[in-house]
Amino acid sequence: MSRAVSTRRKAVVTALAWGVGLVIFFPILWTVLTSFKTEGEAINAHPSFLFFDWTLENYHTVNERSDYLAHFWNSVVIALGSTLIGLLIAIPAAWSMAFVPGKRTKDLLMWMLSTKMMPAVGVLVPIYLLARDTGLLDSKTGLVIVLTLVNLPIIVWMLYTYFKEIPGEILEAARMDGASLGSEILYVLTPMAVPGIASTLLLNVILAWNESFWTLNLTAANSAPLTAFIASYSSPEGLFYAKLSAASTMAIAPILILGWFSQKQLVRGLTFGAVK
């Protein structure tokens, strides 16, 4: 009897999970479907779900008009660069906060997080002027620096949470065996925290990939990533939804594929330490 209830519950939970998953995924699915419609079909008051004349015309137009590969490469450099530099700074920082906390560590963590609470536009002008004066406007280097700083609080927080789950005794044992601070972090802590670091890396690559405020405001022709590629297909006058959807699909495809293949690591990392 209990087995039957358990099966039913499992079925309900599974159906619910699929339902929630589909609701969350629907906007992306709709974007992908719209990218294969004509502009007329895309704005039809009674849109078809699957039964319409599928066309690749929008992809042809987008490829003809824009340099997708250049934007893609800029996105890769900016997202990976900012995440890797962020990790290099955050791993030692999170180590010290997790294993050698001071009196003000919690305050420091909260202060770091509070920087995320300010609207980005509030610091647009000073950052813009700094970038202008240092010659970093419309450069990948400038964006890597800005996005590293923007995402650093999240990276530190995530790593801090993972590191807190690692027993300090293991590190103590390594120290007693004569490991230096660098060796302790590199050879003992890091391998144990690989799932956490991997999920932090993946999540921050996704955040940096999708970041649109700074990437649109600090770039022009040379270092514009895929966010600018998408923004170029919105129009105040005229029909553009199908082409915009094609551009969006092309922009999110790489990160969607990355997320698909690394979902196990992502879930494992994100739920690491969630159940005690």
Partner: protein
């Protein structure tokens, strides 16, 4: 030839090539994603062939993103762009700030005298042209000839709001999904407020009096909003408080609207049989006035190419602007893409071209609408500002959008017309006082 000689020759060629590349000036053009702008990008090869020493980089952005991006850059002298695509709202404001380079010598082939006087006037400050118009539009009434005929009505030469209300009532057939009138309802200074400001001009109203006092407590605004709300709630499509140009375009093209008052550029979209189901049943008339009035709203918008004062490549930028906005460019588009695709609304000569008038049957009405727009005197009342469907002051973007939100809320039934007007009067007074008007 021995190896050394070959190596020397190769090195010389490489050096020559490098010098040629380094002699090339690269300019960055910021623009919006409109059909005419995209066509200009496609035709850049013609410019490259004529000016191999100038390389053109394009940055295409959504209108509001572009406005924010370009404003940041120009205000902070970032120098990211050498040519900007800006509207006639920005041109006089930025020119007065000395943010733009005067375009008083675009060359003999530019033919400045050929520009439509109304368009040129909106871009001229202190007798100098500060931006070259690329295309321009006014507003007009677009209607379904078949539905009007079925309603037993005939479009007057100059329709007034009374006729529009009557026609909207008779054309509406909600059971068949046909709505008498489609108008902008989405909140924004360039969205519903472009239409409503223009409508208020036609009702004899104004945004401000000569002391910069807001006029939302005057009968003209009351009449404007009451008429608008009656039209939209009785004869407009459902959910119209979120409809802008593109949404109404889609509704009209699919046969859901009897009438639509909006930018003249829409005429080409709704007359195109490839995009529009009602292409062969469309008529055009001037934007409505109040009964016995002559003010059609003074709607005038142009997308223009301007050169920021922060550029270090003004000469190359000027060469490009002259190429893109000269009569020769018109000829180029006609040759390569067909005369119907020529950017409209900027040059007198275009409206004397028989081939164009034949290819674009709506052209005479577009010209009539542009010629009727007086941006230097938008209201029948004496006012301290220029503009038309906007007020050409820097504060208007924020105030116009805030007022637009009040009116959109009234359309959505969240506030009455009186509440929306009172709130608009209060917020506009507050913001204008804060901004230090009268200046």
């Amino acid at each position: 030839m021995n190896v050394t000689a070959r190596a020397l020759m190769g090195a010389s060629l490489l050096l020559a090539a490098t010098s040629a590349v380094s002699a090339q000036t690269t300019i960055t053009v910021a623009t919006v994603n409109n059909g005419d702008m995209i066509r200009m990008q496609r035709l850049t090869s013609d410019f490259n062939a004529k000016h191999p020493d100038i390389k053109v980089n394009w940055v295409t952005l959504e209108e509001n993103v572009l406005r924010q991006r370009v404003t940041t850059d120009i205000a902070s002298k970032g120098g990211q762009y050498d040519v900007l695509t800006i509207g006639n709202y920005e041109v006089p404001i930025w020119a007065k700030q000395n943010w733009l380079v005067a375009l008083d010598n675009l060359g003999a082939d530019y033919d400045q005298a050929d520009l439509l006087p109304q368009v040129a006037a909106a871009l001229t400050v202190g007798g100098k042209l500060y931006a070259a118009p690329f295309y321009a539009e006014s507003s007009m009434l677009m209607y379904r000839t078949d539905l009007l005929e079925k309603a037993g009505l005939k479009m007057p030469e100059n329709p007034d709001w009374g006729f529009i209300t009557e026609a909207a009532a008779k054309m509406t057939d909600k059971a068949a999904g046909v709505y008498g009138i489609c108008l902008r309802g989405k909140a924004g200074w360039g969205e519903n407020m472009a239409f409503l400001t223009s409508m208020n001009n036609s009702m004899g109203g104004a945004w401000f009096d000569m002391q910069w006092k807001p006029q939302f407590d005057k009968p003209e605004w009351k009449k404007t909003l009451d008429t608008y709300l009656k039209l939209m709630t009785s004869y407009g499509p459902p959910g119209s408080s979120s409809n802008g140009f593109n949404e109404n375009l889609a509704l009209f093209q699919t046969g859901k609207c009897g009438m639509w008052i909006d930018a003249t550029v829409a005429a080409s979209f709704i007359s195109d049989p490839k995009e529009s189901k009602v292409a062969d049943k469309v008529g055009f008339a001037p934007a409505p006035t109040r009964a016995g009035g002559s003010n059609h709203g003074n709607w005038l918008w142009s997308w223009n190419l301007a050169i920021p004062a922060s550029t270090t490549k003004a000469d190359a930028a000027k060469t490009f602007v002259a190429w893109a906005t000269s009569p020769a460019y018109t000829k180029l588009v006609a040759e390569k893409e067909g005369i119907a695709n020529v950017p409209p609304g900027t040059r007198t000569s275009l409206y004397k071209n028989e081939a164009y008038l034949k290819a674009a049957p709506f052209a005479p009405m577009t010209l009539k609408a542009i010629e009727a727009a007086n941006t230097q005197k938008p209201s029948e009342q004496p006012v301290p500002y220029t503009g038309g469907q906007f007020v050409a002051i820097p504060e208007f973007q924020a105030i116009g959008t805030a007022v637009g939100q009040q009116f959109s809320a009234a359309l959505a039934g969240k506030a009455t017309a009186d509440q929306a007007l009172a709130a608009s009067q209060a917020l506009t007074s507050r913001e204008m006082t804060r901004a230090g008007y009268p200046k």
